[in-house]
């Protein structure tokens, strides 16, 4: 079966097509936050160069975050409308789980750490398990100091991966943790599809409308007054007209 995977919850966006026999096509954008610009053309690119058609896709897997709110929403909105329109089953998985998956052969505890902005991180801990990794904690959000405290409490050392870990390398290494490289700092669509495929095969899937982002953080309840006057033709507080926001 051909599965489409969509991961746009971090500054790196990736899309792939894969079957139980392996990867068919993939596209990754490593820079910036242009999820909305990249995603649909990337899916079309993968389909085209794999000489296949959207009608051949039999399931859609998507990363639910945590991560960048707008990126998560672009990915989920794309996945769920595609699935709705083609009547396809979906599987949603957490970004932190995907991040830990490629290092599943490590014996130590693995900590997936993603940048949560505003001086905070998202993280959770994993242990190797048959066929993948097993999450052993809840998803957490907090400052790097809090994460360092949790790592210090682990007796056998921890491997930390993700852009959040790379950004706080010195602090985390001072607790005795090993920090992964910048090259493997983001969750991949390939991991997503590898993890989702068994679920599609055993029909352990979701309905598109049941896909919900993993926000962890509550919505920032600031009213957009200032923005809105400016957005719709006014000039209050906006200064010169801003370039289109790419998120």
């Amino acid at each position: 079966m051909l599965v489409l995977g969509i991961e746009t919850s971090t500054p790196q966006s990736s899309v792939c097509l894969a079957t139980e026999h392996g990867l068919v096509a993939s596209a990754t954008l490593g820079r910036g936050r242009a999820h909305g610009e990249f995603l649909t053309p990337a899916i079309a690119f993968c389909l085209q160069h794999a000489h296949t058609d959207i009608a051949a896709v039999s399931g859609v897997a998507v990363s639910l975050g945590p991560g960048l709110f707008t990126g998560m929403r672009v990915g989920i909105a794309t996945a769920q409308t595609l699935a709705h329109a083609r009547r396809l089953p979906v599987v949603g998985l957490a970004s932190l789980d995907l991040l830990a998956y490629p290092v599943r052969h490590v014996r130590r505890l693995v900590c997936s750490v993603l940048d949560a902005r505003r001086g905070e991180l998202f993280w959770s801990f994993y242990r190797a398990a048959p066929g993948g990794v097993q999450r052993v904690t809840e998803f957490r959000v907090g400052p790097a100091g809090k994460l360092a405290g949790e790592i210090e409490a682990v007796p056998d050392g921890v491997l930390c991966i993700g852009d959040g870990a790379v950004a706080h390398r010195a602090l985390l290494e001072s607790t005795g943790a090993e920090v992964g490289s910048a090259a493997s700092a983001f969750p991949l669509a390939q991991s997503l599809v590898e993890l989702a495929l068994p679920r599609f095969i055993r029909e352990d899937t979701q309905r598109p409308e049941d896909l919900l982002p993993v926000y962890i953080r509550k919505a920032d309840a600031k009213i957009g007054w200032r923005n809105r006057g400016a957005l719709y033709g006014g000039t209050s507080g906006a200064g010169p007209r801003a370039a289109p926001t790419r998120t």
Partner: protein, 345 residues
């Protein structure tokens, strides 16, 4: 040609199906008012979250009520701006995905252009020239559609939108959100001449400024409170409303005279205000202009107006690429409205 229109620029998750740019097959609006009520205004992050939850149910309902399936849809139209960027992105992503799923043409539409095109859903294709006053919680704009069908913004608020001024004053008066209907209702029990609030007329432009009026209301109430004077909230509401209506009507009629247009349309949530409707109708009648006011469901943000505007552009051969971005400041410029009489291609 059946166009599916998606609108998520602010706090309504709207999907509609429109045939040939004029016939509404379905018009589904998922309101988020309850989500924003506790805050007394639209919260951008809450709006973006709600759009994602409300969009699939809205798509489903629009298809069911329109009596069709995706196989019957010929094109997808979506608002790409202006608006709240996080909110716009949900609709734009969904529209692209639908277009990809069924190999349909995609067309991005300006939200204000959509408001103007709502007129064609009730009165048939536009016959420019036409002047449009768009008044809502998000915008206060005067848009001129010239005889060739080109749209341009000739005036806009330089600070608060009209609906925003209503919401802020209502909040200050202790009235629930949204404030527009509350002030409208309360004003009927008060006197519009009780307090003379300032009108910022910004001579020589068609621009609006409403934040000074809001400040004047606050200052006047505080002054009366300090002086121990009795305050009749109904008088305050009526006097404030009269000032907003006064500015809106005067600006509109000045533009009607200056550009010699004989058709005026008024759209947006604030266009439902009873005093504004009454005074605009009287002024237009006096000036010999025809006032085209769509019914409330087409006046406020909806997907049908986006489908209508999208059809106009599609009929002109326009298409939007899959890498199109949402632009929170998308300007209204160089647009061509499809005028009546031209057969759709």
């Amino acid at each position: 040609m059946l166009v599916l229109g998606i609108e998520t620029s602010c706090d309504e998750t709207a999907v509609a199906l429109v045939e040939d740019g004029v016939r509404v097959r379905s018009n589904v609006i998922g309101s988020q008012v309850e989500h924003h009520r506790p805050y007394g205004g639209v919260v951008p992050e809450i709006a973006a979250r709600a759009h994602l939850e409300l969009l699939l149910p809205a798509l489903d309902r629009a298809l069911v009520e329109g009596g069709c399936t995706y196989a019957d849809v010929d094109a997808v139209a979506v608002t790409t701006g202006p608006g709240l960027v996080g909110a716009l992105l949900v609709g734009v992503a969904a529209a692209k995905s639908l277009a990809l799923a069924h190999s349909l043409p995609l067309i991005g539409v300006n939200h204000l252009e959509g408001h103007v095109c709502a007129v064609q859903l009730e009165f048939g294709l536009l016959r420019p020239p036409l002047l449009a006053l768009i008044v809502s919680g998000g915008h206060t704009s005067l848009v001129l559609v010239d005889e060739t069908g080109r749209m341009s913004t000739i005036g806009a608020t330089i600070d608060d939108a009209a609906g925003e001024a209503f919401d802020k004053v209502a909040r200050f008066l202790g009235l629930p959100y949204p404030g527009g209907p509350e002030i409208d209702r309360l004003a009927r029990e008060g006197s519009a001449d009780a307090i003379r609030f300032p009108r910022a007329l910004l001579d020589g432009t068609y621009d609006f400024s409403l934040s000074g009026l809001k400040t004047a209301v606050v200052r006047e109430l505080r002054r009366r409170e300090a002086a121990g004077e009795e305050i009749h909230l109904a008088d305050v509401a009526a006097s404030f409303q009269e000032a907003v209506v006064d500015v809106a009507v005067r600006k509109t009629m000045a533009a009607v005279a200056r550009h010699g247009v004989e058709q005026v349309t008024m759209v947006g949530g604030v266009a439902a205000n009873s005093r504004l409707r009454e005074r605009m109708a009287a002024s237009c009648a006096e000036a010999g202009a025809r006032l085209l006011m769509p019914s409330p469901a087409l006046c406020t943000d909806n997907g049908a107006m986006i489908a209508a505007a999208g059809w106009n552009r599609l009929a002109g051969g326009e298409r939007t690429a899959y890498d199109a971005v949402a632009d929170p400041n998308l300007p209204l410029a160089g647009l061509v409205v499809r005028a009546s009489g031209e057969p759709p291609s």
